[in-house]
């Protein structure tokens, strides 16, 4: 059971602050999603946490820096750039190399190869691998030492649907076993199904560090969808009650700032016949877009609206 404490992480590239005084915890037994727009500093943060980048601040794994851990690669499973492989060193040899350097029994290599579904291409050189296969090999390396911490940067990249389902199970199983799991991803729909907490950054600064539910409540919007035979009359009544009403075409109104029960009461009082009434809550993706709206370094026009 390892608690990760990141404190005051800071990294500048020239005058640009890639990561600025970032502090957060990753608790054991939970999957923590690490979210941020492109260029927000997620990968740099993870590299700082592991001592791969020089910068300010520190990250402690049960009170010790990564470099101070005994056999660190067997305690902390890491996936950063899955393409960081020698093109002519076979998958099996890559894992054997990591196992040798981490004091891990080489029998474990065969286990993780089978676990990630690469046992049949274990003696193939990575230069012939697809992105998904690179990713699986990177995941195999991260799981080699049965670590109690997982730090995974975009692990779902290139995985097929079965691979993503498998990845979710791996994350859940490790967290259920007491591991602290920090996983970054831009595939928010995929990550939403598995994370318990989220750490959201933008421009290298912390935007949110919360449970998933609380984050969505804070940054998401609840919208009441109401269909009525008298949309103009109901719209006026809702607006008088302080509702933010959008006429979405036909007889459909989208109401925010008022809850479903209040909308029903106003419709009744205004003698408007309602034949559809439901509340839709933003998912992680929409909440994330709203939370990071002003913190995106590289976004397409309209992407965060």
């Amino acid at each position: 059971m390892t608690l990760i404490q990141a404190r005051g992480l800071t990294k500048h590239f020239g005058d640009v602050a890639a990561v600025n005084d970032l502090s957060f915890d990753v608790s054991p037994g939970l999957v923590t999603g690490f979210l941020g727009p492109n260029g927000s500093g997620k990968t740099t943060t993870m590299r700082l946490m592991l001592g791969l980048e020089d910068g300010a601040g520190e990250t402690l794994f049960d009170g010790r820096r990564y470099a101070q851990l005994e056999r660190p690669a067997s305690r902390v499973g890491v996936l950063l750039d899955a393409r960081s492989l020698h093109p002519t060193r076979t998958a099996r040899n890559h894992l054997r190399m990591v196992a040798q350097g981490s004091g891990i029994d080489c029998d474990r290599v065969e286990e993780v190869l089978a676990m990630v579904g690469l046992d049949e291409v274990a003696d193939t050189k990575p230069k012939r691998f697809s992105l998904g296969m690179h990713q699986r090999l990177g995941l195999a390396a991260s799981l080699l030492g049965r670590p109690d911490v997982l730090l995974l940067d975009e692990p779902a990249n290139g995985l097929d649907p079965q691979g993503i389902v498998w990845l979710r199970e791996v994350l859940r199983t490790h967290a259920a076993g007491g591991a602290a799991v920090l996983v970054s991803s831009h595939l928010l729909a995929e990550i939403e199904a598995v994370v318990d907490r989220v750490v959201v950054i933008g421009n290298g600064e912390l935007i949110a560090d919360d449970t998933l539910a609380s984050f969505i409540t804070s940054f998401g919007l609840s919208t009441v969808r109401v269909r009525t035979t008298k949309p103009r009359r109901l719209r006026a009544a809702l607006a008088r009650a302080g509702g933010d009403v959008e006429h979405a075409g036909g007889e459909l109104l989208l109401v925010s700032s008022l809850d479903q029960r209040t909308v029903a009461q106003i419709a009744h009082a205004a003698s408007c016949f309602v034949y559809e009434l439901m509340t839709s809550t933003d998912n992680l993706e929409r909440s994330f877009l709203r939370a990071s709206r002003d913190r995106s370094a590289h976004v397409a026009v309209g992407a965060t609206s």
Binding site: T88, M97, Q100
Partner: protein
């Protein structure tokens, strides 16, 4: 340190390029030894005791192939990590930077020593077969032992230079080019220039240039006219050993400090 060494040894052993280079070293040593024995047989230089020692030392230690292969392995030991971005994996397995660099240096030195010993064994086999088994009886074993020990140091040092230059110049390609061009282009050019100057201190100093110094510590020159070491005889083996070891230590230390300060991105 043990785990870091095991990692580096496995890393080196599991790359096909290493196996190719080892094969090149073995085959190259064999071919060079056969060629030298052929020439020596024609010249009958191994008839006297001094001639036998010198001839054997030439056959055993004059092959440049093993020296260059050691340099290439040294350059690859760090250059591949940067070229293929596997330095992240290395630093995650061995996060203490000086320890990671020391493991690389020890691995390169160990590999170079093995190559040098293999080259010496090949040289002995060829020499005994082509120069006659009695040549060893005529030779001074003390002189030969010194030359062979010097050769092992020379090969190991050249391997370490490959590692150091790769970090210092932040380029595997440049380091390899320098290691190959230096003995055949730069040093001859410098020697030619000093000879043209006719300034004795400069000519004497030219004998201690890195490759010449390495050759000097692995030589067994006889005195007088007819020595096989036309270019290296001016260097004192002891001074050459000091010059060569000093250069290797200085460059390795500089590279280690640079690696400690910035190990990941070059």
């Amino acid at each position: 340190m043990n785990l870091a060494l095991r990692y580096e040894l496995t890393r080196l052993a599991t790359v096909p390029a290493t196996r190719v280079l080892v094969s090149v070293s073995v085959i190259g040593s064999l071919l060079v030894a056969v060629g030298l024995c052929f020439v020596l047989n024609q010249a009958n230089t191994a008839e006297t005791a001094a001639g036998a020692s010198e001839s054997l030392a030439v056959v055993l230690t004059r092959s440049p192939v093993t020296v260059f292969v050691a340099g290439l392995i040294g350059a690859m030991s760090l250059g591949h990590d940067y070229k293929f971005a596997t330095i992240d994996v290395t630093m995650l397995v061995t996060p203490r930077r000086m320890r990671a660099f020391a493991a690389k240096a020890l691995t390169v030195a160990l590999c170079a020593v093995v190559l040098a010993v293999a080259s010496l064994l090949i040289g002995w086999a060829v020499a005994l077969a082509m120069l006659g088994t009695d040549v060893a009886g005529r030779a001074s074993l003390g002189t030969l032992a010194q030359a062979q020990a010097g050769y092992v140091v020379f090969v190991a040092g050249w391997g370490l230079l490959g590692l150091a230059l790769t970090r210092i110049f932040a380029s595997q390609t440049f380091a390899i080019l320098l290691l190959v061009i230096w003995p055949f282009v730069v040093e001859p050019a410098l020697k030619g220039m000093t000879a043209a100057l006719s300034w004795e201190p400069a000519r004497a100093a030219a004998a201690y240039l890195p490759y010449a110094a390495g050759q000097a510590i692995s030589s067994a020159p006889r005195a007088g006219v007819g020595s096989l070491y036309a270019s290296a005889h001016a260097a004192s083996p002891a001074l050459a050993a000091l010059a060569f070891a000093g250069l290797v230590c200085a460059l390795i230390w500089s590279a280690a400090v640079m690696f400690r300060n910035r190990p990941v991105a070059m």
